[in-house]
Amino acid sequence: MKLRAERTEFADAVSWATRTVGARVTLPALSGVLLEAGEGKLVCRATDLEVAAEIAIPVQIDEPGRVLLPGRLLAQLVARFPDAPVELTGESDRVEISCGRATFHVRGMQAEDFPSLAGPAEDAPSGRLRADAFARMVSQVARAASTDEGRPVLTGVQVTAADGRITAAATDSYRLAVRSLDFEDAIEGSALVPARSLQEAAKAATEVGGSVTIILEEGQVSFLFGDRRLTTKLIEGSFPNYRALLPDAHETSVVVERAALAEALQRVAIVAMGQANTPVTLTFTDGSVELAATNQEMGDAAEAVPAEIEGDGLSIAFNPGFLLGGLEATGTDRVRIELRDGLKPAVLRPHQDDTEAATDDLTYLLMPMRVS
């Protein structure tokens, strides 16, 4: 193999591909990035067997070829290269990389050991979303996914594409986040995507910008950003029927300043921290919400925040971390909290006073804690 690449493009390509390369790998080949030169372009690939990253960049090819190089080493090298064209020559057992006056010899691995993972089919239907909107949706929803590997289905985000909209839903069984978004180009289908992979795709969407193309296939989903692609395996199993869990009515509705409530919550929660399962109790009364936490060892804390309350006052207790997550997800200056009673799920939604103003179609449902 012999090729010549532009430094910035090459560095970008390596850093894109190696995003899936973790510090600890089960197979040595998974620590590598596969470089394939041919037909005027260089394709870089890496995978952790769950997510595969791929990128193609234009390069000048004197001799096509294929090498598997240690990913982290390569990423560290190119990040420190001087601003000059990069040249690669040699075969897997010994690759010479030079840039400006610097020359490195890197021992590669057997390219055949790299797992071959299918990319999306050429003719697969593809949907398109605005990259920033997609990233925002993922950050709002994926936080509600479970990290408990004992319940694999709940570690995923259920993605459903129908009627020109994409809907993402995640739950760890204590809270449930659901959000919809309009497609620019619509597709139909559904997939249970590992939350971590989806967050990786969202990170990429933020970095690259523009739009993201989504291809849903049997067993995998691909996210395309121009010449860059992430393909992730899907989780097997069926996601709970979350629609049935969303309450259809509420007794009390509260509108409150998000930042004020979040700050008060964090202050009060300091007392709750370090103690297993200590809830923060919210009492909604005339014109205010009072937050309180008690810790047998540390003492107690209370703070009140003004709030607009419709309906009867009530008390409800939450895991402060879960409530904070919900407040962060809504994103608007003011949030709406819909309640039924102290033991029924609460619903958080973004709120705009101006009813004409657009808000994210987000529902963050939160189960309370029973205090005895």
Partner: protein, 429 residues
């Protein structure tokens, strides 16, 4: 200090606990033969009401067999959370009588009422008072044995069932024990009793009259000495109140260092099972799971993970501890000790995170499987329900070390098993 009352020990045992709770909560079940357990073909009876027991139905019996014995059997699902709640309420009643309470499981406990006698009356009166409160406040039947020792109190509560109280004055215990079958002795399971009978020791009196060394030769040193004493009405064990545990853990030190990851995983599985069983018996659940490893260099590492909710499910402990082990990515290291622990029992005012009812039921099913397995292990001496991955180990090593550990606690408090030790750290005073 008062003089020790001669028969101050109470054993309180809820009658057909799970089944009684179900009958209480659903009046249409009252008077009917009820079995608690999974209705499906391969389910096992977790508890049977007295109406069902009349047909020969008992816990740990396959549901199919139970239905054959009692065609009108009403099968209801478990509500373990509710049983735990009721158990807490029962213990609150005990606490009104004496601080010296030693719970054995969700549905039975020993009480030493020596300190309460001068305030409230003789132990049988206190026993009836407890039965009355449990009946009035919880609408549930229980039986009470009153005697000078733990073993006699437990024996009497069994004889008093259902819904009764029996009391033997200290002076009459030895004589009254004599005609009973040897199986009445605590620690004499079916196998032990059979062995004693095969040597002609049929009644408790036979055992009491025999030389201690003879009994020891028949059933082993420790067990023999213990049975001989019990047969003579001697039982020095005190009612030891359980401090609320801060952590429950089990660890194993290997005779030969282990470097096979699969073997290590199997040990983790077994230890998690032991810890899970203990949590469930004590009716507690924790959020933090800890894995402890000591290498041949004596370097010790502990890794822990905290879940959003407390668990007492072996399946959850196995998942968490297994993951901690996998994350250590041990390669070619020699391990001399492995331990699994649970802590963070969440006394934050007893708050409990509620969960959505999702149709992802697998984990809940595990919980039920484990409860039934616990019942089977409780009922059948020497039988344990375990993971298939441990079958080879069990065949090779004889009884599960966990089982020995439980015997160790009940009969030999001073002698923890050398293989497995369970540590409980009590609250600081």
């Amino acid at each position: 200090m008062h003089d020790r009352h001669p028969e101050s020990i109470l054993h309180v045992d809820m009658d057909a606990f799970f089944a009684s709770v179900e009958q209480r909560d659903d009046p249409s079940l009252r008077g009917l033969p009820v079995a608690v357990g999974a209705a499906s073909g391969r389910g096992v009876v977790a508890a049977a009401s007295y109406e069902a027991r009349r047909f020969g139905v008992h816990s740990a019996m396959p549901m199919v067999q139970a239905r054959r014995l009692c065609p009108d059997l009403v099968v209801v699902g478990h509500h373990f959370e509710r049983y735990r709640e009721v158990s807490r309420a029962v213990r609150a009643i005990f606490a009104d009588v004496t601080p010296v309470v030693e719970p054995l499981s969700l549905d039975e406990a020993f009480l030493d009422v020596a300190g309460a006698v001068h305030l409230y009356g003789e132990p049988p009166v206190l026993g009836e008072w407890i039965r009355g409160r449990v009946r009035d406040e919880l609408d549930l039947p229980c039986s009470v044995g009153v005697g000078p020792t733990k073993s006699v109190a437990k024996l009497l509560s069994g004889l008093a069932k259902p819904d009764g109280l029996l009391h033997w004055p200290a002076g009459e215990v030895v004589e009254r024990l004599r005609p009973l079958d040897v199986s009445a002795l605590w620690g004499a399971g079916p196998r032990t009793a059979e062995r004693l009978r095969s040597f002609g020791l049929r009644t408790v009196g036979d055992v009491a009259d025999a030389d201690a060394s003879v009994v020891q030769r028949i059933v082993g040193d420790v067990n023999g000495r213990q049975l001989h004493r019990l047969a003579r009405g001697e039982d020095p064990r005190r009612v030891t109140p359980r401090q609320p545990a801060r952590s429950v853990s089990a660890e194993t030190t290997f005779d030969v260092d282990v470097d096979d990851p699969d073997e290590l995983r199997r040990h983790v599985l077994r230890l998690a099972g032991s810890v899970g069983r203990r949590l469930r018996r004590q009716g507690i659940a924790g959020r933090t799971v800890t894995l402890k490893l000591r290498f041949d260099s004596f370097e010790t590492v502990t890794r822990s993970t905290t879940r959003p909710t407390a668990t007492d499910r072996t399946h959850d402990l196995v998942t968490a501890a297994g993951r901690l082990l996998a994350d250590l990515r041990l390669e070619r290291v020699r391990v001399r000790l492995v331990g699994v622990g649970v802590s963070n029992f969440g006394d934050g005012g007893g708050a409990e995170q509620l969960a959505l009812v999702t149709d992802d039921v697998d984990t809940h099913r595990w919980g039920r499987v484990e409860r039934v397995a616990d019942r089977v292990a409780e009922r059948f001496d020497g039988v344990d329900v375990s993971y298939a991955a441990l079958l080879d180990d069990l065949a090779g090593e004889g009884p599960d070390p966990d089982l020995r550990e439980e015997v160790a606690e009940d009969l030999r408090p001073q002698r923890p098993s050398p293989a497995t030790r369970t540590t409980r750290t009590p609250h600081d005073p």
